[in-house]
Symmetry: C2
Subunit: 145 residues, 2 copies
């Protein structure tokens, strides 16, 4: 679900993470918080023509490092980013929820409300993180069928 925030809250968020409050970062934040799907770098580029690709790339990277957003790959293997739930901290993500890839609109949905069931790994494997991907039709595309 999209989380509505205003500019002041985004500035606070940047300050909290010791990041300078630049226009590019505020715009990226407001776009990502306004959507309920994950955003790829091409998505950002197509909207923010005036911001350099590399800048967007670095903004996404630093946001991920700081635990503001998390990375998730779509069906094509391209990185998508979504705002983290409150449980995320620097270098310690809690993105162990379900990522839904819509095969029609290509949207990537983070279904935070679902938690993963416990998984027992075979002997020897030691897991540090889990991600569950589902692919299919999102509610909107499902209706259009």
């Amino acid at each position: 679900m999209a989380q509505v925030k205003n500019t002041y809250q985004f500035e606070d968020l940047l300050e909290k993470h010791q990041l300078k409050k630049t226009g590019a970062r505020l715009r990226v934040l407001s776009m990502m918080y306004a959507k309920n799907t994950a955003t790829s770098q091409p998505d950002l580029e197509s909207v923010m023509h005036d911001i350099d690709r590399v800048t967007l790339y670095r903004i996404l990277n630093v946001f991920e490092e700081k635990g503001i957003i998390h990375k998730v790959f779509d069906l094509n293997g391209t990185a998508n980013y979504a705002v983290c739930s409150s449980g995320c901290h620097e270098h310690h993500h809690h993105d162990e929820h379900l990522h839904f890839n819509c095969t029609a609109c290509k949207g990537v949905f983070c279904l935070n409300e679902l938690s993963l069931p416990a998984i027992n790994l075979p002997e020897g494997f030691q897991a540090s993180g889990f991600t569950l991907y589902a692919s299919g039709l999102c509610p909107k595309c499902n209706k259009m069928q």
Copy 2:
């Protein structure tokens, strides 16, 4: 677990899917069936220098279409391919098992023996497939720690 097959069985496999029995395809099959980890295109290239990159790319694609192998992305978003379990058919994969990404050796393991617990999606979402990714240390790298 690696599935041991001989050349005749690979030829049968190709014939079953109406694919011509070429040297390149047989070599790719024998390499993939011999391993218990998924194989990326770079992996294949580094071993089979005499086969063109594009040929390998097309072989992997046609194998995936026919349901012989399935695609899985590693932590970097690069495609890896692993032989399908017997339940796979053309355009209808049953790769709903656990994919384990080793953060040390970068190996991608398909743990077929684990089946996923049932997942209840929110209203409106209609899933056609699930994939569970885990990242951490594989048995070999775990021992080396």
